[in-house]
């Protein structure tokens, strides 16, 4: 087999520079061919997704908004070990650790917790490495379809614990569902 006859795509075409005959030089046939091609597109399925009403289906491994999890008793899992911040390639995560007081046992699972936990959504690339690094199952990237809304202030893109921590009632509901099972 010579190199000329190999065609991996099966669509290989040798370019010929032969002189055009009279009808080809008229271009009328070529124009009609072109018109047929364009009119075929008129009847094709449109590729447009009507965005606000219609949303593209997300991939099953889609990674969306982060969430800091609570356990079955509604206590925060995060111990502010900093591994997520360390693993973050975009350096989007910052946190400040604090020691749990005696009267806060119902709030935090372990003796150390994150007093401040912030993710800069302008830096985050949603790679999910924080989720992989977390030893306490505290941070997860959810499949939430709510995207980070646009804003005029940079401060609005730094998400603190008020936006990141899982709401308590959802945690309790999850725990109930688990108990029923």
């Amino acid at each position: 087999m010579s190199i000329e006859s190999i065609s991996l795509s099966g669509r290989k075409k040798l370019v010929s520079n032969k002189e055009m005959n009279f009808w080809e030089r008229m271009y009328l046939i070529a124009i009609v061919k072109g018109l047929i091609i364009t009119i075929q597109h008129l009847f094709r399925r449109k590729v447009t997704i009507q965005y606000p009403e219609q949303v593209r289906t997300m991939s099953p491994v889609y990674r969306g908004q982060h969430q800091l999890k609570r356990d079955e008793q509604g206590r925060e899992n995060c111990t502010a070990c900093g591994l997520c911040a360390l693993s973050c390639p975009a350096e989007a995560i910052t946190m400040k650790a604090a020691e749990r007081r005696a009267d806060e046992k119902h709030l935090y699972r372990e003796e150390k917790y994150a007093e401040i936990y912030e993710i800069n959504m302008l830096r985050c690339i949603f790679c999910g490495l924080c989720e992989e690094a977390c030893p306490k199952d505290a941070i997860y990237l959810t499949t939430s379809k709510v995207l980070v809304p646009s804003s005029y202030e940079r401060e609005d893109f730094i998400y603190g614990k008020d936006k990141l921590v899982m709401p308590l009632d959802i945690a309790m509901k999850n725990a109930q569902l688990k108990n029923v099972k």
Binding site: I31, G34, L35, I37, T38, I39, H41, L42, R44, R45, K46, V47, T48, Q50
Partner: protein
């Protein structure tokens, strides 16, 4: 002259004016829709059902734009340019027969603003004045890109008008009249001129594209080379007038094509309809037939726009002077031989 004819004619004039404006408006909508469909998109669909209010939104936007004026010594010409383009585009519709006649209030009403016996010449005359709008606008803009566009438009118009006129001569030799009403009437039944004069039709079609400044002949405003050509410096409604004039021209060109070659208001079975359903219904249907034909041509204009890329300038001139003009002269000779075939055969002794 009695006053009823004045009323009758003014009603027709207003109706034709409104129709031209409406068609120009909705051509912009149709252009965007067809462009979108041919590119597998949906097109404007937010303003009203199927985006039907899009032209209104566009007009509102153009009206509310800043009225920019370049620092030009020809301020008067700068204003006159769009006005000429618009008024010539609207003037051509005067001679088009929209139907044969209606029988209302005990009198026959011709569905035509005026039945000039030189209707076709009038059409050519007014269309060729249309290029002055572009030329004056491009000149007065005091901008080299605008001037370039204007020069291109002028040379293109001059070149293609010749071929267009020659292709018409072949048709006129056959019809023997310049009145568009008579040409329409001659095509009754299925005697459409396109079957007798296919070559004339092709040449006229190509020239109509050039006259209307449509792709592939839109060198006057090719945005990749000349920004916007002659309307680079225009904004607001002056710009809107140029765009509007282009679409009105396209509408008129489509109508002329339908009238000259595709039987005008005639449709198969029209004489039967006149006998059985009466003149009025038959002619309303006739207007519908003309409307469908011209919409088909408008669609064709848009279809071609998304098929054929723009010509290069030298290709344009080559096509006009070295192909279309000789071809139309040959066409004239063929038509002449066919018309005089009896005499020629007699002379040769058959």
């Amino acid at each position: 002259m009695d006053s009823t004819i004045i009323i009758e004619k003014s009603v027709i004039i207003v109706a034709v004016f409104a129709l031209t404006m409406l068609m120009a408006m909705y051509s912009t909508w149709a252009e965007r829709k067809v462009a979108a469909w041919l590119q597998d998109r949906v097109g404007p669909n937010r303003a009203g059902p199927f985006g039907l209010f899009q032209p209104l939104a566009d007009g509102l936007k153009l009206f509310s734009k800043e009225e920019f004026e370049p620092n030009t010594p020809n301020r008067f010409l700068f204003f006159v340019g769009p006005a000429i383009a618009m008024s010539t585009a609207l003037m051509t519709s005067a001679v088009i027969p929209w139907g044969d006649k209606l029988h209302l209030f005990g009198r026959d009403i011709l569905l035509q603003a005026t039945d000039l016996n030189i209707g076709l010449l009038y059409f050519f005359g007014v269309v060729s004045v249309g290029v002055y709008g572009i030329m004056i606008g491009g000149w007065a803009s005091n901008n080299k890109f605008s001037l370039m566009g204007a020069v291109r438009a002028a040379s293109q118009m001059v070149s293609y008008e010749v071929a267009m006129g020659l292709s018409m001569i072949a048709l006129l030799m056959m019809t023997g009249t310049l009145s568009l009403r008579e040409i329409s009437a001659q095509q009754a039944g299925m005697n459409w001129n396109v079957f007798y004069q296919p070559l004339s039709f092709v040449i006229f079609l190509i020239c109509a594209f050039a006259e209307a400044n449509r792709t592939p002949f839109d060198l006057a405003e090719c945005e990749s080379e000349l920004i916007g050509g002659y309307h680079t410096e225009y904004s607001s409604m002056k710009m809107g007038f140029y765009l509007f004039a282009e679409y009105a021209n396209m509408f008129i060109s489509s109508t002329i094509l339908a009238v000259l070659f595709f039987g005008g208001y005639n449709y198969p079975g029209m004489s039967w309809a006149v006998e059985n359903w009466g003149v009025n219904i038959a002619n309303v249907l006739g207007f519908g037939a003309l409307f469908i034909k011209l919409c088909g041509f408008i669609f064709f204009f848009m279809w071609v726009r998304w098929t054929i890329p723009r010509f290069r300038y030298d290709q344009l001139m080559h096509l006009g002077w070295r192909i279309l003009i000789p071809l139309s002269i040959i066409n004239i000779m063929i038509v002449g031989v066919v018309i005089l075939r009896a005499e020629i055969f007699a002379y040769l002794g058959f």
